[in-house]
C-alpha cells in the first residue's frame, strides 16, 4: 500500500521523531494510533510526548470498522501510553480524570489502568466514586453487553496499584470480593492484598488457581504476580495453565514481593518451568 507521506511504510520500524510526527497527524487516526502506541512502548522521554498525548486524549471518534480501529482509538491509546510515561505523565492526571467520566466504557477502562500505572494518588477519590454502590450498582451487568456498568477490574486494580490504604479505599473495594464473577473477585482480592498485605486475600487468590475455568486461573496467576505474594510459589507451579503465564507470575513474586520464600527457591521454581 502506498503511503501519503514520505515516512516509512506500514510495518517498517520507526523512530521517536517519526512517532511524534504521526501523533500530530490529526487527519489520519490510524497513524496517530500507532504513534501513541510507539511512544508508550518505547518509554519516550521526549518533552513533546506527554503534551501531544494529552491532546490526543481529547480526540473522540466513533469506531471505524473499515480501518479496523476501535471507538476513540486514539484517545484510548494515548491513555495507555501516558500510563507508561511516569513521572512526566503525572502532568496529565487532570486530563485522565476528565476522561474517567467519559461515556465510553473502553476509554474509562484504559484511563483507570493508566492512573494505576502512574500511581496517581490524586485519582483515588474519583476511582472510588466509580465503584460506588458495589456489586449491585457499579458491578451490575450492563444490559445487552458482557460488560459490567463500570470497568470494575481496571478500577479495582488501579486502587491496588496506587496503594493508598485508607478506609474509604478499603470500603470501596471490599464488597467486590463477593461479586458473582470470579474475575472481579480476583481483582478485588489482589487490590486488598496489595493494600493490606493480609494473608486472607492471598489465600483467596490461591484458591482461585484451582477454579474450573482456565480464564479464572490465568487471572489469579497474574493477580498473585502483581501483588508479589511469595507464599504462592508452590500453588502457582502446580496450576493447570501455560508455563509462560506461570513464569510471569513467578517473576512478579521475585520483583514485587519480599520475605519467604527467598530469591533462590523462587528462581529455582522458574527454572523448572522453562
Amino acid at each position: 500500500m502506498l503511503q501519503p507521506s514520505n515516512g516509512p511504510a506500514a510495518g517498517d520500524p520507526i523512530d521517536e521523531v517519526e512517532a511524534l510526527a504521526r501523533l500530530r497527524r490529526r487527519d489520519d487516526p490510524s497513524q496517530q494510533y500507532y504513534g501513541a502506541w510507539w511512544l508508550g512502548r518505547n518509554r519516550s522521554r521526549h518533552p513533546e510526548a506527554v503534551p501531544l498525548l494529552r491532546l490526543a486524549l481529547r480526540q473522540r471518534r466513533p469506531r471505524d470498522a473499515s480501518a479496523g480501529v476501535e471507538e476513540n482509538a486514539v484517545a484510548r491509546n494515548a491513555a495507555r501510553a501516558l500510563g507508561k510515561l511516569a513521572p512526566e505523565a503525572l502532568a496529565a492526571v487532570p486530563d485522565l480524570l476528565d476522561a474517567l467520566d467519559d461515556a465510553d466504557h473502553g476509554l474509562r477502562e484504559a484511563v483507570a489502568r493508566a492512573l494505576g500505572d502512574l500511581k496517581a494518588e490524586a485519582a483515588v477519590p474519583a476511582l472510588c466514586a466509580r465503584l460506588a454502590g458495589g456489586p449491585a450498582v457499579a458491578g451490575a451487568p450492563l444490559a445487552g453487553s458482557p460488560r459490567l456498568r463500570e470497568p470494575c477490574e481496571a478500577l479495582l486494580e488501579a486502587l491496588g496499584d496506587i496503594g493508598l490504604a485508607s478506609d474509604a479505599v478499603l470500603n470501596a473495594v471490599q464488597p467486590f470480593v463477593d461479586h458473582e464473577r470470579p474475575l472481579i473477585r480476583s481483582a478485588a482480592a489482589r487490590a486488598l492484598l496489595q493494600l493490606s498485605g493480609d494473608a486472607h486475600w492471598g489465600n483467596l487468590l490461591v484458591s482461585l488457581l484451582e477454579h474450573p475455568q482456565l480464564q479464572v486461573r490465568r487471572a489469579a496467576l497474574m493477580d498473585l504476580g502483581a501483588a508479589g505474594w511469595r507464599p504462592a510459589l508452590e500453588p502457582i507451579s502446580r496450576t493447570l495453565a501455560e508455563n509462560s503465564l506461570k513464569l510471569i507470575a513467578l517473576r512478579g513474586l521475585v520483583e514485587n514481593g519480599r520475605g519467604e520464600p527467598q530469591l533462590e527457591p523462587l528462581l529455582d521454581g522458574m527454572d523448572a518451568l522453562l
Binding site: 518505547n42 518509554r43 510471569i248 521475585v254 522458574m270 522453562l274
Partner: protein, 220 residues
C-alpha cells in the same frame, strides 16, 4: 495380552480418538506405557493442534529419552509450526546431541518466545558425557555461540532461559573446558550488569538470575 498388543491397542486409541478430550486421555495412556513403539505415534500427536495432548506427548517422548530422538527428527514436518515448537521442547528435555541443530535454529529464528525459551534451556543441558573430549569441546562451542547470540533477545523470558542455560553449560564444562566457562561467565556478567539498559523491557529478574548463576559458578 502381550506387551506389544497392549501398546498396539493404546496406539489405536490415539489414532481413533473422536474428540479432543478423548485424544488427551489416549495420549496420556500411550505416553505412560514407556514403550519405544509409542514414539512414532506420540510425535504424530505433536502435529494435531491439541495442546493438552501435545503436553502429554512431550512428557512421554522425554521419558523415552534418546530412543525417541530418531522419530522426532525423521518425522518432523518443517511446515507444521506447532509440531516443530513441541518437538523443540521434547528435544530440549531429552538433551540428545542429535537435536543440536534444531535447537540452534529455534533459538535464533523461532517467532515463539516459549519455543526460544525451551531451546535456550536445552542448549545448556545436552548430554555430552559419552563423547570424546574433542567432540565435547566443539559441541560446547556451538551451544555457547547460540546462547551468546541470544543475550539480546527482545523477550525477558528468553534472556532468563539463556542465563539458566549458560549456568548449566558452565557447570557441566567445569574443569575440562575453562575457556568455555569463562565465556559463559562473560555473557552472564553482561546480563547481570544491564540486561540491556537500552531495552524498554529490561527485567530485574533476568539480572537476578544471572547474578545467581555467577555466584554458583564462583563459590566464595
Amino acid at each position: 495380552m502381550t506387551p506389544s498388543t497392549a501398546v498396539d491397542s493404546l496406539i489405536r486409541a490415539v489414532t481413533e480418538a473422536d474428540s479432543a478430550e478423548a485424544l488427551v486421555v489416549a495420549t496420556r495412556r500411550l505416553a505412560a506405557s514407556g514403550e519405544v513403539a509409542a514414539a512414532s505415534t506420540l510425535v504424530r500427536v505433536l502435529g494435531y493442534n491439541n495442546p493438552g495432548a501435545a503436553v502429554a506427548a512431550v512428557d512421554g517422548l522425554i521419558a523415552l529419552g534418546v530412543q525417541a530422538v530418531p522419530a522426532l527428527l525423521e518425522q518432523l514436518d518443517p511446515r507444521n509450526y506447532g509440531a516443530r515448537a513441541w518437538a523443540v521442547r521434547a528435544l530440549a528435555g531429552i538433551g540428545d546431541v542429535r537435536g543440536l541443530a534444531l535447537l540452534e535454529d529455534a533459538l535464533a529464528t523461532d517467532v515463539g518466545p516459549s519455543v526460544r525459551r525451551a531451546a535456550a534451556r536445552g542448549l545448556g543441558q545436552l548430554h555430552l558425557a559419552d563423547l570424546s573430549a574433542d567432540q565435547r569441546a566443539s559441541l560446547r562451542d556451538r551451544c555457547l555461540q547460540a546462547l551468546e547470540a541470544a543475550i539480546a533477545d527482545g523477550e525477558w523470558v528468553v534472556r532468563y532461559a539463556v542465563a539458566a542455560g549458560l549456568e548449566a553449560l558452565a557447570l557441566s564444562s567445569g574443569n575440562e573446558n575453562p575457556e568455555a566457562c569463562s565465556r559463559a561467565r562473560t555473557a552472564l556478567q553482561r546480563l547481570a550488569a544491564a540486561d540491556g539498559t537500552s531495552n524498554p523491557d529490561a527485567a530485574p529478574v533476568v539480572q537476578l538470575r544471572a547474578r545467581l548463576a555467577l555466584a554458583r559458578l564462583s563459590p566464595p
